[in-house]
């Protein structure tokens, strides 16, 4: 009976693994994305259900112990509460806060991995004398702890609760190495200690790894958060895989590896888009740390400021317009007025498109989600490589709350911290309208020469209010172009 069930369980795990692969695969195109999500849900439900049933089937085999009803009760309560909280978060979160949500969810996986590791050690039946098993536990706890605090710091930075500027301690690489060494030393102590006494070194590993995770993410500038978030996504996968090793569970291993490697690729794709090295993101701070002098510099030169009415004039006369959204649009929740503006322009016969930089916003694909929320047809939305050659034939480019991704010094100024990052070459258009809250430097702390170009006009103010004003001004003009 039990053997049969064990086979059923293995087959169910296999099915769940395949469903997860299908899920990731489905998420690669718009047409199959929803099916992909459903596959993931089914896979997860299957995995949880089978494991829970196994509690009942296997219970007697492990000898007299916990009453099943109690285990089931505890399980049911934990799952019910967790699901309710998760559903509430998912329903309440504003699309503009997606990056924060994803970051905090990563931290949950990290924390869960730490707890599972410690619980596994404390489990009475655990055979801690097995060195391999011991190492597996330590690795799981280590990755989990790094993921946990790293994600919490990322959450804080995205929230704005922590400053976006990288914290670059001198000798931070040495510090990281020392912390790693401390973890190795604790592991040795842990492996030699008899069963319950190993808890102390294990907690030391968890503690040191937590500091390490926080320190690694603190050293990364806010502008690179999209990469960090997807890197943490990868870590959360590795944490799950490590748990699989310690529990001898192939489903956890497979699923964790899937998530881990897919997250790593996503980070790699991001890094390539920003001309960054992946290693510098993993180890915190860019290989060559920007010298302190490259902080926000005083703005140089005069800028041309325009009113909403003047910009409406420009737009009314334009035949082709490209909108470049950035984090400022997300912060101001301006995606709906922006959609209204572009619809109005389209009705006048103007060709309108959106240009999305791979790292616009604070999360990969962040802008796409916001535009989708405002029901912008995704066929109007173009990627950087597709649209860069078109700027020169464009009459007006509207940059809404974007800064570093349209900064020409990335191409021209070798001393700029963002030098070498491909950017949207908006300055090639006939006119550029830059909407900003103020003349402050962007998230990367770099001044933007685009503002001082002859063909650039600045439109200051909150993006939502400004775009709404533009819509009104354009409507007042009436007629078609």
């Amino acid at each position: 009976m039990t053997d049969t069930f064990a086979s059923v369980q293995r087959l169910a795990y296999l099915a769940a693994s395949l469903l997860f692969i299908l899920s990731l695969r489905g998420l690669s195109t718009q047409q199959t994305a929803r099916r992909g999500n459903t596959a993931g849900v089914v896979g997860m439900a299957l995995a949880v259900a089978v494991t829970a049933l196994a509690l009942r089937a296997r219970g007697p085999a492990s000898g007299a112990g916990m009453v099943h009803a109690e285990a089931w009760g505890l399980l049911a309560i934990a799952i019910a509460v967790g699901a309710a909280v998760g559903a509430m978060l998912a329903a309440r979160v504003a699309m503009t806060s997606m990056p924060e949500l994803v970051a905090i969810l990563h931290s949950f996986v990290g924390a869960a991995a730490v707890l599972v590791g410690i619980a596994n050690y404390l489990e009475p039946s655990a055979d801690a004398s097995d060195a391999v098993h011991g190492v597996e536990i330590v690795v799981g706890v280590f990755i989990g702890a790094v993921t946990f605090t790293g994600s919490v710091i990322a959450f804080g930075k995205l929230r704005g609760a922590l400053g976006s500027k990288p914290l670059l301690l001198s000798g931070r690489h040495v510090l990281n190495a020392l912390m790693a060494l401390a973890c190795v030393a604790s592991t040795v102590v842990f492996l030699r200690a008899p069963a319950p006494a190993g808890l102390v070194p294990l907690l030391v590993v968890a503690g040191v790894a937590s500091v390490l995770g926080a320190h690694l993410v603190l050293a990364i500038g806010g502008g690179d958060m999209p990469v960090v978030v997807s890197m943490l996504n990868s870590y959360s996968g590795w944490a799950a895989a490590a748990a699989g090793f310690m529990l001898s569970n192939d489903l956890l291993i497979v699923t964790g590896a899937l998530v881990g490697s897919s997250g790593a690729i996503l980070s790699f794709i991001m890094c390539r888009a920003m001309n960054r090295s992946l290693w510098s993101v993993i180890f915190g701070g860019f290989g060559a740390a920007p010298p302190p002098s490259t902080g926000p510099r005083a703005p140089v030169g005069p800028v041309q400021e325009a009113t909403a009415e003047q910009v409406a004039e420009l737009l009314a006369a334009a035949r082709s317009v490209i909108v470049v959204p950035g984090y400022g649009m997300a912060v101001a929740q301006a995606q709906h007025p922006v959609k209204e503006l572009t619809t109005l322009l389209q009705k006048r016969g103007t060709k309108v498109r959106y240009a999305i930089h791979p790292v616009a916003g604070r999360l990969p694909g962040h802008m796409n989600v916001l535009l989708a929320e405002a029901s912008v047809s995704y066929e109007l939305v173009e990627e950087m490589d597709e649209i860069n050659p078109d700027f020169k034939d464009t009459d007006v480019v509207i940059v809404i709350g974007a800064n570093d991704i349209v900064n020409p010094s990335a191409l021209t100024d070798a001393s700029s911290p963002i030098f070498g990052m491909p950017v949207l070459e908006v300055w090639k258009a006939a006119r550029v309208v830059m909407m900003k809250r103020s003349m402050n430097a962007g998230y990367a702390g770099v001044d933007n020469p685009l503002a001082y170009k002859d063909n650039t006009v600045m439109l200051f103010g909150d993006a939502k209010a400004t775009v709404t004003k533009l819509v009104a001004a354009l409507q007042a003009k009436g007629g078609t172009a």
């Binding site: 998420l27 997860m44 399980l75 967790g82 998760g86 699309m95 391999v132 944490a239 690729i265 996503l266």
Partner: protein, 518 residues
């Protein structure tokens, strides 16, 4: 430094290399200027106008050349008709010269100038880069020539260019065909369009279609055999087979054209023959061909350099002095480009020429430096510009910054591989099985993600995030044994937070995906 402005001696040349306006600018730069009497007369600038700006007047060529340290000219120096003298020999020993020198075609002249230990800058060699546009004399002249070609053609055509509805009957607009859409061709198109003609244009470079169309002309498509885009935005020379096909295509269009403007030139080469005598025969009586390539042999087989001829009832204009026919305009623009170059090569704050051979412009224009031959400049890759006019819009090309391949990557990868192998050997058995599964799953994950549409990165991340909540299963497994103790309680907490992750991740993904719709 004293600048000399001689009177041009080439027959029919009416331009002058400096106008009172540019003389005033040079005076402001601290330069002395001496102008030969009557130098600007043909461009409607009397000696008085130069005097007012602070120049002095030299009575004749000999005294002018003797005084000047730097001579500004339009045409290359040539033999003075009366007497045995050559302008090159009049140049001061160690003096300087700026003008349209055409060093490629005038090697004997360059040698002669090098004997004078002269420094010579060629206006025709200004590189076609954005920064040098204000010094681009050839484009400035081509613009004038293109405009004038249509005016000349129209004046020899016995009808309106534009269409009209009059009480005396309806007039259809004339048809103008422009061969070659460089600066001159585009100027001709613009002029013909503004006079109301229907304009078609032909060019071997398909990239210029957009510019042709932006001026309101129709682009005549050449079946794609090879692109005519050569170095620096100029056209290149094509194969004989291509030219034959080209001639046939053009003949179809010349037949129905009232005015044909030929502007096709390949730098330093004989002009391609585009309009055959057969094509001329089939044209309507009274039609006009204006051949701007006459100087280099002409685009039309029947063109005679410098003359107006009538063949088979078609007037063929082979004038080579179109710029001089608008000498005031030409002088104004040419003098400005010369003055811009002069200002660029002057030492900062000083009055002497200081050439910086690292500078792309300086290196391009310098033919001789103190008698030493520096022409042609070493070729260097130029930023591509679709066509001469487009150079205005072309910004510096994007630098592609290659990152040195990281050495940490392979090193770390190697370390991980060795560590895993060692662990496998030590641990053996079950661990190796798990390792197999793990590595295979990594490879699958790696492949599944590559083709993700970037727009879906956020949903993908939130779904993988939900899936990583699979650690929930780990928590459940830990509840399988023992009474409720520390281990089970910790596991319960792990299950709780992992479930938040699972539910939150999947639900928010579903919510996002609902928004992605067409």
């Amino acid at each position: 430094m004293r600048i000399g402005i001689p009177k041009e001696i080439h027959p029919g040349e009416r331009r002058v290399a400096a106008t009172p306006m540019t003389v005033a600018r040079m005076r402001k730069l601290g330069l002395d200027v001496v102008v030969q009497a009557g130098a600007g007369e043909a461009s409607d600038y009397g000696d008085g106008a130069y005097l007012e700006t602070g120049a002095t007047i030299a009575p004749d060529a000999a005294s002018l050349w003797a005084q000047a340290d730097l001579v500004l000219k339009v045409r290359p120096p040539e033999a003075i008709p009366e007497g045995e003298l050559h302008e090159a020999d009049l140049l001061k020993e160690g003096g300087a010269l700026i003008g349209l020198v055409w060093p490629g075609q005038n090697q004997a002249l360059v040698e002669r100038l090098s004997l004078r230990r002269a420094t010579v800058l060629a206006m025709d060699a200004v590189p076609r880069i954005t920064r040098a546009q204000k010094m681009d004399a050839l484009s400035a002249m081509a613009n004038i020539v293109g405009y004038r070609s249509v005016i000349e053609g129209a004046s020899h055509l016995g009808r309106f260019l534009g269409g009209q509805m009059t009480a005396a009957g309806r007039v259809a607009p004339a048809k103008v065909l422009v061969l070659g859409a460089g600066v001159a061709g585009l100027a001709a198109i613009a002029c013909a369009r503004s006079l109301g003609a229907v304009v078609r244009a032909f060019d071997t470079r398909p990239q210029v279609r957009e510019q042709v169309e932006s001026l309101g002309a129709t682009f005549v498509e050449m079946p794609a055999l090879e692109s005519g885009e050569g170095e620096g935005g100029y056209a290149k020379e094509m194969s004989p087979a291509f030219i034959a096909a080209e001639q046939a295509l053009i003949a179809q269009h010349t037949e129905s054209s009232d005015v044909v403007v030929c502007t096709a030139l390949v730098p330093g080469k004989v002009a391609p023959q585009l309009v055959t005598s057969g094509a001329v025969v089939s044209m309507q009586q009274g039609s006009v061909i204006v051949d701007l390539a006459a100087e280099q042999g002409g685009n039309c087989a029947l063109t005679e350099k410098g003359r107006l001829v009538e063949k088979f009832g078609v007037k063929i204009l082979g004038f080579t002095d179109l710029a001089s026919r608008m000498s005031r305009q030409s002088s104004d623009l040419y003098a400005t480009t010369v003055c811009n170059l002069l200002a660029d090569v002057l030492e900062a704050g000083g009055v002497d020429i200081a050439l910086d051979l690292e500078d792309e412009i300086h290196r391009g224009v310098v033919v001789l430096q103190d008698g030493k031959l520096l022409w042609p400049p070493p070729t260097r890759p130029r930023p591509r510009s679709a066509a001469p006019l487009a150079a205005a819009a072309a910004a510096p090309s994007t630098p592609v910054v290659a990152r040195a391949p990281s050495r940490i990557g392979p090193l770390l990868g190697g370390l991980v591989a060795v560590a895993l192998l060692a662990a496998g050997v030590v641990a053996g058995g079950e661990f190796v099985e798990h390792l197999t599964v793990f590595l295979l799953a990594c490879v699958v994950g790696w492949h599944v993600i590559w083709n993700v549409n970037p727009a879906l990165h956020t949903p993908l991340m939130s779904v993988t995030n939900a899936i990583s909540g699979i650690i929930l299963v780990g928590g459940i497994l830990l509840m399988r044994t023992g009474s409720i103790g520390a281990a089970t309680l910790l596991a319960a907490v792990a299950i709780l937070i992992a479930t938040i992750n699972v539910a939150g991740g999947f639900l928010v993904t579903a919510r996002m995906l609902r928004m992605f719709r067409r």
